[in-house]
C-alpha cells in the first residue's frame, strides 16, 4: 500500500471515529419557546406544562436530557393510559425534534466545521485511499487476497464494520434523538436544497448518496477496462444523486410532496398510503403525474423493461438499494451463501414479503375507499408491522448491516418485494439470460463465488446450460471474473433461452443426450 493510501485510511478512520463520537458532545437546554415552536398547536399547552421542570436546566449530555424528557413525558402519558383516557394521550414522538432544538453545543453553532471534520474529511480520506488503487497495474480482475482480508472475509474488521452498521441503523430508525448532533451538521445543506431543516432522513440520504459516489469511484478503479461495469456504476450513481437525493428535496422546496420518481411499489411500500395519495392528488398536475407515473411503472414499466432487458434494468442500474449494494457493498459480494438450502429460504422469504406487501396495500386501498373503522385499524396495524419488520429491520438493519457478514444483497435477495415481482417476470417472460459458452467452463467457481445473489452460476455453466434465474440482478460480475470467457449477459430470442437438457459441445462420440 502506498503511503498516500495509508494517510487516506488514517484520515478516513479519524473522520468516522469523530462522526461516531459526535453524538456524545454538546449541551442541551430546553426553553418554553422551543417547545412552542416544535410541538403541534393542540399539544403546546400540555407539553409546556409537562416539560416545565426541564426549562432553563443545562444538560451536559443528550443521554441525561433524553432521559429526563422521557421520564416526564411518559409519566404524563402513562397516567392517562392507566385512567383509560385514550383521547388525551399524546401519541406524537417529540423526542427528536425537541432534543435537536435544545442542542446548544458547538455543533449547533458550527455545523459546517463539524461536517468538515467528520463526513467531508472522511470522504477526502476515502478518496485518497481509493484514487491510487491499482495504479500502475494492468486492466483486469482485482481479486487478489480477498479471502486473506479481515475486512472482506468475515474477519475481525468485517465483524466490527457489520456491528457499526447495525448499530447505526438501529439508532437511525428507532432512537434518532440520540444523533441530533449529526443531523444538525447537515441542517444548512438541507435548508439550501429544500428550505427545511434536516431530519434524520436527510442526514441518511446525504451519507447514503456520498457512499454511493465515493464507492462508485472505487468501482471505476476496480473494474477499469470493463465497460459494462463502468456504465452501470455511472447509472446507479446518477440515479441516486439526481432522483433519490436532489430532486425530491427540490420538490419540497417547490411545496410539492417529497417524491422519488424511480422508486417503485412495492419497494416503495408507502406509495398507496393515504397521506402519500392525498399529497399527490392535492399537488396539481405534477402531483397527478407522480401518481400516474408511479402506477405506469408498476403495471407497464416493470413488465416491459424486464421483458426486454431482465430485472437488471432496475436492480443494478437504477435502484437505490441496489446502488448501495453495488458500490459500498461490492467488497462483500463474495460472502453470499450459494447453497441450495439458502436458495430455498430465499424463495420462501422474498415471495412471502411480496405477498405481505400486496395484502397490506390491498387493505390500504380498500380502506381508502371504504372508511370502515375496523378496516382502518387493521390497516394501521399492518402499516406499523410492515414498517417495523420489513421497512426498517429487514431492509435497513439486516439489509445493509449484514453486508460484511452475509454479502451485499441480503435485502435484495431475501426481502425486496419489488425484486420478487421483477424476478417473476424475469423467470417466466423475458429475453434476458446469461448465456454459457459451449464447453469452455472449467468449473473453477469464480462466477459462483462472486455472485452477490448467491446463484451457483457454475452449476449451470459447467453443464452448458443458460442461467435463467429470477434472482439474477444482472450485475455482470460473473462474466467479468470468468477466466475462460464462458458467461455473457444477453437479451435474445425466447426460443432456446431455457435449455433444460443441454449438450456440451465438443464430444462427437455421444450425439443423443439421455
Amino acid at each position: 500500500m502506498k503511503t498516500i493510501q495509508k494517510i487516506g485510511l488514517v484520515i478516513f478512520v479519524f473522520g468516522l471515529t469523530l462522526f461516531s463520537l459526535l453524538p456524545f458532545f454538546g449541551t442541551y437546554q430546553l426553553e418554553k419557546g422551543t417547545v412552542e415552536a416544535n410541538v403541534k398547536e393542540i399539544h403546546t399547552g400540555k407539553m409546556v406544562e409537562v416539560l416545565s421542570p426541564m426549562f432553563g436546566k443545562t444538560y451536559s449530555s443528550n443521554f441525561a436530557f433524553i432521559s429526563d424528557f422521557k421520564s416526564y413525558f411518559n409519566t404524563y402519558n402513562d397516567g392517562l393510559k392507566a385512567n383509560q383516557e385514550w383521547d388525551k394521550v399524546i401519541w406524537d414522538n417529540y423526542a427528536f425534534a425537541l432534543t435537536k432544538a435544545s442542542s446548544t453545543g458547538p455543533v449547533a453553532e458550527n455545523p459546517f466545521l463539524f461536517l468538515g471534520i467528520t463526513v467531508l474529511i472522511g470522504v477526502f480520506g476515502a478518496l485518497l485511499y481509493i484514487l491510487p488503487l491499482y495504479r500502475g497495474q494492468t486492466e483486469g480482475i482485482k481479486n487478489d487476497g480477498i479471502f486473506f482480508s479481515s475486512m472482506k472475509s468475515r474477519g475481525l474488521l468485517g465483524m466490527i464494520t457489520g456491528a457499526w452498521l447495525i448499530l447505526f441503523y438501529i439508532v437511525l430508525y428507532w432512537f434518532p434523538e440520540y444523533i441530533t448532533n449529526l443531523v444538525l451538521m447537515v441542517d444548512p445543506i438541507s435548508m439550501a436544497v429544500s428550505g427545511n431543516p434536516a431530519s434524520q432522513w436527510f442526514l441518511y440520504g446525504f451519507i447514503y448518496t456520498l457512499a454511493i459516489i465515493v464507492m462508485g469511484i472505487r468501482m471505476f478503479r476496480k473494474y477499469r477496462g470493463n465497460a459494462y461495469q463502468t456504465i452501470r456504476t455511472t447509472s446507479v450513481m446518477f440515479s441516486q444523486l439526481a432522483f433519490a437525493f436532489l430532486l425530491p428535496e427540490i420538490l419540497v422546496l417547490m411545496n410539492m410532496p417529497w417524491h422519488d420518481f424511480k422508486n417503485i411499489w412495492p419497494l416503495d411500500y408507502t406509495f398507496f398510503y393515504e397521506y402519500r395519495v392525498e399529497g399527490m392528488v392535492s399537488s396539481g398536475a405534477l402531483g397527478m403525474f407522480m401518481l400516474v407515473w408511479g402506477i405506469i411503472l408498476i403495471v407497464i414499466g416493470v413488465p416491459l423493461f424486464t421483458y426486454f432487458y431482465g430485472k437488471r434494468w432496475y436492480c443494478s442500474w437504477v435502484c437505490g438499494c441496489g446502488g448501495l449494494a453495488e458500490t459500498l457493498g461490492d467488497p462483500y459480494r463474495q460472502l453470499s451463501d450459494k447453497s441450495v438450502k439458502a436458495w430455498k429460504i430465499e424463495r420462501y422469504l422474498v415471495h412471502g414479503v411480496l405477498v405481505f406487501a400486496i395484502l397490506m396495500t390491498g387493505f390500504t386501498i380498500a380502506n381508502y375507499f371504504s372508511g370502515f373503522e375496523l378496516l382502518g385499524q387493521a390497516t394501521d396495524q399492518l402499516h406499523s408491522i410492515y414498517g417495523f419488520a420489513i421497512g426498517s429491520a429487514f431492509a435497513g438493519v439486516i439489509g445493509t448491516g449484514f453486508y460484511p457478514l452475509m454479502g451485499n444483497r441480503v435485502w435484495c435477495r431475501f426481502g425486496c418485494p419489488l425484486a420478487a415481482y421483477l424476478g417473476i417476470v424475469q423467470r417466466f417472460k423475458s429475453r434476458f439470460r446469461i448465456t454459457t459458452n459451449g464447453g469452455q467452463c472449467i468449473s473453477c467457481g469464480n462466477c459462483s463465488t462472486y455472485c452477490e445473489m448467491g446463484i451457483d452460476v457454475r452449476w449451470y455453466a459447467q453443464r452448458g446450460q443458460n442461467i435463467v434465474r429470477s434472482s439474477c440482478v444482472g450485475c455482470g460480475v460473473c462474466s467479468a471474473v470468468c477466466p475462460r470467457g464462458v458467461l455473457k449477459l444477453e437479451n435474445g430470442d425466447e426460443d432456446g433461452r431455457i435449455n433444460e437438457m443441454p449438450i456440451i459441445i465438443g464430444n462427437k462420440s455421444i450425439t443423443v443426450k439421455a
Partner: protein, 467 residues
C-alpha cells in the same frame, strides 16, 4: 457380465472420474459406484487451485458440487491411496492395508509434474504444481521468501508466476524456448504474451535452460544456475515442465506375496507406455479395467490433430462422459472428439482457440492475424489457401462463441463469411469496444477487397437480438 448391481470403482476424483461417475448414475440406478481419492475428500476444480493461493477463493469454493450431492446420488467417496491392484482377484489394496473388491475398475489417476533429473530437484523448496498437496506445499514453501524461480514456459508455469506475483514475490521465469509457449502459439501471439509477462514485472528469461539447483547445508534451495552459467539466488523453485501420466503405483504388481511377477498370466499385467494404454473405448488390455483422462494413452491418436495423451480439462470430461455411456449402453461408441477447443488465461489476457491453429503451418494454409494497437487484443484465423474454408481461430482478450466456431469449422464455412459475421460470433460482454470492423478492414487492405460487415438493424441492437 450382468450389468445389474455392478460394483464400479473409480480411482481418482478429478474431472474425468467424477464425470464418469455422474453419468453412470444418470443411466444406471443399480450400480454401486465408488470414487477413491487420496488427494481430497471431495471433487474440486484442479484448475482453480491457483485462485486459492491468490486469495480469490477458498478451497470450499472450488468444489463444484455441495457435499450432500454425493450421498444423494449414491456415489460413495473413499479417501485412501491405492497401493496395489490385484487384477486377478479384482481387488484394490490401500496403503493402510485395507482392500476393496470391484467388478469394473476405472483408472482416472491424472498426472504428476515432470522432473528431468536436474541436480538438486528434490531439495526443499523445489516443487511442481498439480495436486492439492502441491498447493499446500507451495503455501508453506513460499512464506517470507525474496525470490522464486519458475522453470518451464507452459500454462502451469505462467499460472505459477501469476500466483507468486499476487503475493508480491519477485519471480524469475526461465523459458527454454525463444518465446513463451511457442511450440503451441504462433510467433506473434507468443511475443504478445512475452510483453504481457514483462508488463507484470516478471523477470522473463527466454531461451534459458536450467543448469542445476543448489541447496544450502539444511537441504533448502538457495540458488539455481542456468546452462549459460548465471547464478540466481532464490528460495523457491517451481518445476513446470509439463506433466506425465500418474501410473507409477501400477508398476510391479504382485498381487499375492508368494506369486512372483512373471507368474502372472499375460493379460493380468496392465499394459502401459507413457500412460495406461487404451483403445478408443477406453479399454485397457485387462477386461473390465478402463482408463480415462490424463493417465490414459490411446493406441492411436483419436484424430489427426490430437495427441495420444490428452491432458486437458475438457478432454478429461469427454473421456468420462463417453466411458460412462459405454458402461451403461449395449452399443458402445468409440471416443470421437469434435472440433478441438481450449482456453487459458495469461495474467489478464484470456485466450480461446477453436479448430486447427498450430505454431507453424504448411503452404496449404493461409493466416490472417490482427492485433489491436494496444497490443493486448488479437485474433488469428487459419484457412485453406485453395478452398478458403476456415480451419481454426486463436483469440486473445476476445471472447468467441464456441457454438458458432464449432459449426463454422466442422461444416467448413467460407473464411470470408466468418469474417463478415464476426460481430455475431463475438462473445464479449455488452458495451465492450468491438473490433470486427478493424479486422475486416485489415483483411480488405491486405487483399485489396471490399467486404462489408453483416449489419444488424438498430432495433435488433436495441433489444439485443442476435441471429
Amino acid at each position: 457380465m450382468s450389468k445389474a448391481n455392478r460394483n464400479i470403482v473409480i480411482i481418482g476424483n478429478g474431472i474425468s472420474g467424477v464425470t464418469c461417475a455422474r453419468h453412470i448414475r444418470k443411466k444406471d440406478e443399480s450400480a454401486h459406484i465408488t470414487i477413491i481419492s487420496g488427494e481430497t475428500d471431495h471433487f474440486f476444480s484442479r484448475t482453480a487451485l491457483m485462485y486459492i493461493y491468490m486469495g480469490h477463493m477458498k478451497y470450499e469454493h472450488t468444489k463444484p458440487y455441495e457435499d450432500w450431492f454425493w450421498k444423494k446420488n449414491r456415489i460413495n467417496l473413499k479417501r485412501a491411496w491405492v497401493e496395489k491392484i490385484d487384477f486377478e482377484e479384482k481387488s484394490l489394496i490401500f496403503s493402510n492395508g485395507e482392500s476393496m473388491a470391484y467388478d469394473v475398475l476405472v483408472l482416472a489417476t491424472g498426472s504428476k509434474p515432470n522432473k528431468f533429473g536436474w541436480p538438486g530437484q528434490d531439495l526443499k523448496g523445489v516443487q511442481g504444481m498439480y495436486s492439492f498437496q502441491d498447493l499446500e506445499l507451495m503455501q508453506a514453501n513460499t512464506q517470507n521468501i525474496s525470490r522464486a524461480v519458475i522453470v518451464g514456459g507452459g500454462l502451469i508455469g505462467i499460472e505459477m508466476a501469476e500466483m507468486l506475483n499476487s503475493r508480491k514475490i519477485p519471480v524469475t521465469f526461465l523459458v527454454r524456448e525463444n518465446n513463451f509457449w511457442d511450440n503451441i502459439l504462433p510467433l506473434e501471439e507468443s511475443k504478445m504474451i512475452n510483453r504481457h509477462i514483462l508488463e507484470h514485472h516478471i523477470d522473463l528469461r527466454l531461451g534459458t535452460e536450467l543448469g542445476e539447483i543448489i541447496g544450502d547445508e539444511s537441504g533448502m534451495v538457495k540458488a539455481i544456475t542456468t546452462k549459460s552459467g548465471e547464478t540466481i539466488a532464490c528460495q523457491f523453485v517451481g518445476l513446470t515442465v509439463g506433466v506425465s501420466p500418474n501410473i507409477e503405483f501400477l508398476y510391479a504388481q504382485p498381487s499375492k506375496g508368494s506369486k512372483p511377477l512373471e507368474g502372472f498370466l499375460k493379460e493380468k499385467v496392465l499394459q502401459t507406455n507413457k500412460g495406461i494404454v487404451v483403445d478408443r473405448f477406453f479399454k485397457t488390455n485387462i477386461p473390465d479395467v478402463y482408463a480415462i483422462g490424463d493417465c490414459a494413452e490411446f493406441q492411436e491418436a483419436p484424430a489427426s490433430d490430437r495427441k495420444n495423451i490428452e491432458q486437458v480439462w475438457y478432454t478429461g470430461r469427454m473421456h468420462g462422459e463417453t466411458l460412462a455411456y459405454n458402461l451403461t449402453s449395449d452399443n458402445p461408441v468409440p471416443y470421437q472428439p469434435g472440433v478441438w477447443f481450449n482456453s487459458a488465461k495469461f495474467f489478464d489476457i484470456e485466450y480461446q482457440t477453436y479448430g486447427f491453429v498450430p505454431a507453424n503451418w504448411s503452404e496449404e494454409y493461409e493466416s490472417l492475424y490482427w492485433e489491436d494497437a494496444g497490443g493486448k487484443i488479437a485474433i488469428r484465423f487459419l484457412y485453406g489457401k485453395s478452398d478458403m474454408k476456415i480451419k481454426g481461430v486463436n483469440a486473445f482478450r476476445w471472447r468467441l462463441r464456441h457454438d458458432y466456431f464449432d459449426k463454422a469449422i466442422s461444416e467448413g464455412w467460407m473464411f470470408e463469411k466468418v469474417l463478415t459475421h464476426l460481430n455475431i460470433a463475438s462473445f464479449n460482454p455488452e458495451f465492450f469496444k468491438s473490433h470486427y470492423k478493424a479486422v475486416l478492414d485489415h483483411y480488405n487492405k491486405q487483399k485489396g477487397k471490399s467486404l462489408k460487415v453483416h449489419k444488424e438493424s438498430f432495433f435488433k441492437k436495441l433489444i439485443g437480438s442476435r441471429a
